[in-house]
Amino acid sequence: MKGTLLAVLVASMVVPGCDRSSPRPKDAGKPPVMLSVGHVGHDHHLALYVAALEGERFRKDYGIYLKAIKSREVYDLVENGRGLARLRFIKVGGGSRMPAAMSRGEIQIGLGGVLPVTKFADRGQPFKIICPLQTDGDMLVMQKDSPVTDWPSFVSAAKGGAKPLKIGYKAPLAVAKLVFERALRAEGIPHGHNAADRRTRVILVNFGSEKSPLPLMETRSIDGFVMNQPGVAVAVHKGLGKVVAELRDLPPKGKWVNHPCCCVCATQQTLKTHPGVVKAFLKLILLSTRLIKSDQQLAIDCAARWTKYDKAIEKASIPTIVYIAEPTDTWVAGMNTWADMVRDVKLFTGRYAGVPSDEIVRDVCSLELCRAAARELRRKGLLERK
């Protein structure tokens, strides 16, 4: 018996070891630096996927590109014919999973939500947000046959309806949830998680990060949900909901326009030891973002190819997302707003506890490389002047 078990153990190691799915090319020309890049796999990080899928176009048009070594997993970052770094793409997941992976040293560059990164920085992790990725793209979705058709009718239904409305959200620090809660507060709608409290008019239901709200929608366990794309587009595509409001339009009016969502961040160590590589990577993101904005069909195609979502879903999702890679004043103001909100709910308990919002944003962001990358691209005529 012991022998059988030993054989199974050895086989389970040897069999995979025989896997030679990636033939080893000659290592001449292998870039000197290996970095791991964490991402989530959906269209908020489209800039990365467009760069990965359109390597040849980038090589011809820009001279800076990703050369596929193992599709979807390993790419060489090449600039002007020189391999700068070998990048390993790791799908770490959304929310706090990306900064958590970074804190364990598994990734050096990460694409993810601005709030989780800031939370980890609050705990003393040496992370910096080095460029924005996109803003907006968060919606309020209601049941397809709901009488609610827009925000005003939602407010009426919440305040005057026979029963409280149950609205799902994916994570406590999700941007969509924070915006929605503030909007409810601005409208004077009592809300919370306690369904037993008779005063509550909107009951918030956490359907779990990365999990889909669709089963809850189909079983009518919730009346609607707030979430980022492409989850919204999936629900509509499946016939399980309708968009009644974009969260950017929620009250206080104008506060949520271009609200920051995802960003690129890196460890301070990486910024210190490989600034050239990081700058080249940021150039790639800048160029990719520009391409997304100028060729939406390409963006939809690339998104569908990478995420494997139906093209119709990406077609509905991408136009609602604002892809930016250069930090603007509006973006920085949006970051200040997030810092305010997180501080108000006393979620900053470390370095940022009691620190003013603008100082928090200045501390967690390190945008010089991004701006330098943009300047270089403008000098070469690869990016429009501001």
Binding site: M1, L6, A11, P16, K70, I90, P215, V234, Y309, D310
Partner: protein, 272 residues
């Protein structure tokens, strides 16, 4: 007749499934699930995952690794606890307490300890990505499976070892057996049925745990990963197909262990 009776419940399930899928955006049709099952080597066109067969292989290998490690560590420790009073007093309370903690609860701890390391990263460092399957044997996943399987195996082994009749041990000693021979010729065979029971229970837990364990970040293959991703991307036919494959593999695994248990315990008299 036996086959007919055995088919009643599956038939009822299929019927219920058929009716549930009609007009549902979430419950996939039987046909769509079958379509996934009959193309196990195809890259899923609408799911960010490896083919079903690759996922099954990755899951099987992870479980094989974790379960084997659990058996190789739990059986000796169980024997020690069962036969040595000092070891029993030292280890039993901790084992009893740890056993009631669901292995899934250890997932965050495993991530913190092991991260994304694997035999491939240990052996090949930065080139780990070239060794796909080996890299998929994430230590964190294997550790969680080990946690799930270890305690039932160890505790059943300990119970079996403690129940070995002293008369049998003394008989072997009188025939000249030393400690190792007493262990191999008396204790192990006597405790064999209990060990096999532990292996069966542990094997079942190991297989069930893999589904939760495969939500580890950085995992791209495996049946559990496929279920989670299918849920996220609302491509539920993959989730259902994965569940069916999980059930089939789990049944096979249990069947094999049951055969082993029958073989090991065939000396036990059957009461009629």
């Amino acid at each position: 007749m036996k086959i007919a009776l055995g088919a009643v419940v599956p038939a009822a399930i299929l019927l219920a499934w058929h009716f549930a899928s009609r007009g549902s955006a979430v419950v996939p049709s039987i046909g769509s699930v079958v379509n996934v099952l009959i193309h196990p080597f195809r890259d899923p066109p609408d799911l960010d995952a490896t083919p079903l067969a690759d996922g099954a292989l990755a899951s099987i290998l992870r479980v094989a690794c974790g379960f084997s490690l659990a058996a190789l560590t739990a059986v000796p420790i169980g024997l020690l606890v069962g036969r040595c009073r000092a070891a029993m007093e030292m280890l039993s309370p901790t084992m009893a307490a740890a056993m009631v903690i669901s292995p899934i609860a250890w997932i965050p701890v495993a991530i913190i300890i092991f991260g994304l390391t694997s035999p491939a990263t240990a052996l090949y460092g930065e080139e780990a990505w070239r060794h796909g399957l080996l890299d998929q044997l994430r230590f964190a996943i294997v550790a969680v499976i080990w946690m799930g399987a270890f305690f039932p195996i160890a505790l059943n082994t300990a119970a079996g070892a403690a129940a070995v009749r002293e008369a049998h041990i003394e008989a072997a000693r009188m025939l000249g057996a030393g400690r190792r021979q007493v262990l191999s010729k008396v204790v192990l065979p006597s405790a064999g049925p209990a060990i096999m029971t532990g292996l069966r229970v542990g094997g079942g837990i190991a297989w069930r745990v893999i589904i939760a364990a495969e939500i580890f970040p950085g995992t791209r293959g495996g049946l559990g990963y496929m279920i989670t991703t299918a849920h996220e991307q609302a491509s539920y036919e993959y989730a259902f197909a994965s569940i069916i494959v999980i059930g089939a593999i789990g049944l096979t695994l249990d069947g094999l262990l049951r055969l082993g248990a029958v073989r090991v315990g065939r000396w036990q008299p059957k009461e009629r």
